[in-house]
């Protein structure tokens, strides 16, 4: 177990270094990031340019720049937003809660609907319920989330007027605030729900077909006990292992959903940073998203060892 933990931690650190180099590389994808400060059609005096370069450390060799940047990063300093002249960490910190709340609610929604639906679909295989559940999952996978969001706004907000169009309704009473969550959560959670459903279904079918289930049935264990104790316990591992894949989906999805529903979160900060050419802010945001993803996948991997002890010794 300790061996596994050490290896896993080392890999996380390595991935982090590779990812940080990639993000840094992006910052230098153009020959000189300093050009981003100059609005098109304007010129900058050579002295100003040199001063700016010195201020941002762009006159030093690339390796030194990376090391400085990485060192600052380790101390939690992601630099200042060019547009707002405030630390990137402060800006992201302000918006983080909204994104996390949306993602967590959507994740809960996906889990508590997707997994039971997958179980039901496997138990009633070949029935109308099964086909309905699978059809529902199929649409969740194949319709673009941002389009579903727009259609949802058009039907439920504009046409029927049941739900608010945008924002998170901060400061409103609980029920009113909950209304603001309905559409974004459904849109963000549908895809992951479909993923959970498909995987739970096939895992459950596989387990139900196994020898030990037949044995349990043969020795007269009640059907309820067969399903909930013998089958589900073993089938649940597979849906858990896709949690990391789903996380990546949440992060990319969050950007689109926040834009559509004007949700005041990190994804929108990123898009606005792009629109205003705010380079420090966008690299910082990407780096935070990446680091978070790596951290969550580490946590998920450690969780599997709890659920499935076989992994520990692999």
């Amino acid at each position: 177990m300790r061996n596994f933990l050490a290896r896993r931690l080392m890999f996380s650190a390595l991935s982090m270094i590779v990812a940080s180099m990639a993000v840094f590389g992006l910052a230098h994808a153009k020959e000189d990031p300093i050009n981003l400060f100059i609005q098109p059609g304007y010129f900058m005096a050579p002295e100003t340019l040199a001063a700016l370069k010195a201020k941002w450390g762009l006159d030093k060799p690339l390796v030194l720049q990376y090391l400085t940047w990485a060192g600052n990063m380790l101390r939690g300093d992601l630099g200042d937003s060019v547009q707002q002249s405030r630390p990137v960490t402060t800006i992201v910190g302000e918006k983080w809660g909204a994104t996390a709340q949306l993602a967590i609610v959507a994740w809960i929604f996906g889990t508590i609907t997707g997994i039971p639906l997958g179980i039901l679909s496997a138990l009633k295989r070949g029935s109308p319920t099964d086909y309905f559940a699978r059809g529902f999952a199929l649409f969740g996978q194949s319709l673009p989330a941002f389009w579903v969001g727009l259609v949802g706004i058009w039907i439920f907000a504009v046409y029927l007027g049941w739900l608010p169009v945008f924002g998170r309704g901060a400061g409103l009473p609980f029920f009113e605030q909950a209304k603001h969550y309905v559409l974004p959560v459904l849109v963000l959670g549908w895809g992951p729900m479909a993923g959970y459903m498909r995987i739970t279904r096939s895992a459950m079918l596989e387990v139900l077909d196994s020898e030990y289930i037949k044995l349990a049935r043969a020795k007269g264990v009640s059907e309820r006990s067969v399903i909930w104790k013998h089958a589900l316990r073993n089938a649940i591992i597979q849906p858990l292992t896709i949690a990391t894949l789903l996380l990546a989906g949440f992060m990319d999805g969050a950007v689109l959903v926040e834009v559509i529903f004007a949700w005041p979160g990190v994804g929108r900060v990123a898009v606005e940073a792009v629109n205003s050419n705010d380079f420090m802010l966008i690299t910082g945001t990407v780096f935070i998203f990446t680091a978070l993803y790596l951290f969550m996948s580490l946590v998920a991997d450690l969780l599997y060892t709890v659920v499935d002890p076989r992994i520990r010794y692999a």
């Binding site: 070949g126 059907e223 990546a248 950007v255 689109l256 898009v271 996948s297």
Partner: protein
Amino acid sequence: MDDSQNLESVDVLTGAPPSRKFRVHLRYLRFLRTYPIFSVVILSTLVFAAVTASWIAPFPERYGQLRDRHAEPAIFGGEGGHLLGADSVGRDIYSRLLFGARVSLIIAVGTILIAGSFGTTLGLISGWYGGWIDEAIMRLVDAMNAIPVILVALVLAVAVGQSFWLLLGILSVGLWPGFARQVRAETLSLKERDYVDMAKVGGASTGRILYRHILPGLFSTVVVVSTNLVGTVILAEAGLSFLGVGVPPPTPSWGGMIADGRLYLTDAWWVSAFPGIAIGLTVTSLVFLGDWLRDHLDPRLRQLE
């Protein structure tokens, strides 16, 4: 999935077979599952539209008549001769959909070719050599998976300006790990086969073994992974174009068209609705085709979904 053989299976809880009426439906469903007719029809329509867009589109795709602004779809009784209506600058939605199919197809095929050849090569090397090479490549795959593709696309769109090639590059970077992982797993099992040992004994060079003995065995895996990922590419391209960092306008792309109609939902729902339906139909048929191919080419991959 694997239901084509067991559609009339019994209900696990009650032991009852499905109702009679439903059984009749099942017969059609089984037919549809035995042959991927839905997918083939939709996808060949898509390819046909993409290839012949220049000849069959009734209107120019990049220019519109302002007097046709938000013309209603002719199929819902609108006037002005626009089959699926017109957008806020009077461009014909139907024509733009046809040309959008071309863009989606080129991006999808291009990405799959680039990501597929790169990912397959690395997966092959990783699985064949093992050891630290394998470890290094797999860590790279993990690190790549951790990078949020949409955000990176946003960064690059600012850093180097949006372009068709950039889009192709980003999507390829996002997709090659999927190929590498699958191909590696398949290579690991193929290299233990007897015929590979025979080839070694026969004095075949490593390059020859990889090219003549392992690569052909990877065919079905690569085809199945490609089909599944084409849908992902189309959705990702649409998402990026929606955010304004995909295919640069005025070239029509489905995602961009949805974005165009976003501000006019109440006045002209058709601007956003039709491209969304086109994406949905395309990706749905790709999912069906992928499932079908998986069942027929490579049953082992079934466990993945």
